[in-house]
Symmetry: C2
DNA sequence: TAGCTTCGTTCGTGGCACAAACGTTAGTCA
DNA sequence: TGACTAACGTTTGTGCCACGAACGAAGCTA
């Protein structure tokens, strides 16, 4: 795995100066920033042998209590098909337990373990640090505004268009 | 290609309610919002048979004048290897011209055509509308703040760590 | 009973950022 | 002049991710 900094022959990373037209477009800024953010988080979590989906699942379990994989999927935005693998990893580490639901034999009930809770706390700390780095250029008050706006945007674009009757 | 709204069996799209822990994390909001934004823009541009990279390239040419593919790559953040295809498409449509640089026979000089300029203006309009939709929940003043913050974040995370001497 | 939906799971797809390698051409400096 | 290094355009390939199709099993409704 070649270190990112020494790839002799790389292009645009130190983007010289993008056209003003592009620097004005929220969509572009969002997507570029998302790439960097993702890299920061993914790398940071990798250092403690975790992945972002682990955090999402553990956080959801902690907040809503045990649930089926489908519920978990809806709460985290991770697809059912991908959830399987994530839960395999978490179960293997002993962070969650997967047991068949006696009341509905289609379902599994996923429960967070004590160790899972510890890991969640740990990940929260790691993520706090990473976000400190991520949002470094913004004042504390601006960070709140930023998060608030993102939240409103996301909510707005997450509303389900109800199927016509 | 099944329409997005009728896929019988889809998961998390209308995310019921994500854990507060997740809704607080800028990284997650960014990445989710980036996905939606990307979809909005990609679909919107597809309706006029364009792709976002086209806009980036045309904007760069308009602002900085003709340039080599490498320069274009640096200005837009599109990798050299991907630039080839983008320019093929643009050349095919007659939006740019690719001619060998007489002064440096390694290079091609890419020039925007009159038609390219027209298309750029058209795309600018389309993008204006799409961004209106994208940023709908924000007041005009908030939009500026939002873009400003994104810009600062991106600049901060784009600074090149100079290789140790 | 028959016909729907939901669940967990497997497998597959398309798009994207990114990288390796190669032939070609320029610039550099002994 | 010749050898070395670096930039250019191009082809090909990789890994990751969001997403979808399909299926057997199980529950729900009439």
């Amino acid at each position: 795995m070649p270190s990112r900094a020494e790839a002799a022959d790389m292009p645009a990373d130190g983007a010289i100066e993008a056209p003003e037209r592009l620097r004005r477009r929220a969509s572009r800024l969002l997507s570029q920033m998302s790439v960097r953010s993702d890299r920061l988080i993914t790398d940071g979590l990798a250092r403690v042998d975790a992945r972002k989906w682990h955090y999402a699942v553990l956080a959801s379990l902690q907040e809503y209590g045990p649930g089926s994989q489908a519920t978990l999927s809806r709460n985290t935005g991770i697809y059912r098909s991908d959830m399987v693998g994530v839960l395999n990893e978490l179960a293997e580490r002993g962070d969650v337990e997967r047991t068949p639901d006696p009341g509905d034999r289609r379902r599994n009930v996923i429960t967070i373990t004590e160790q899972g809770r510890r890991h969640l706390r740990r990940l929260d700390d790691v993520l706090d640090d990473l976000h400190e780095e991520l949002l470094a250029p913004l004042l504390p008050e601006e960070r709140d505004q930023f998060v608030g706006m993102l939240r409103r945007l996301l909510d707005h674009h997450t509303q389900r268009t109800p199927p016509a009757p």
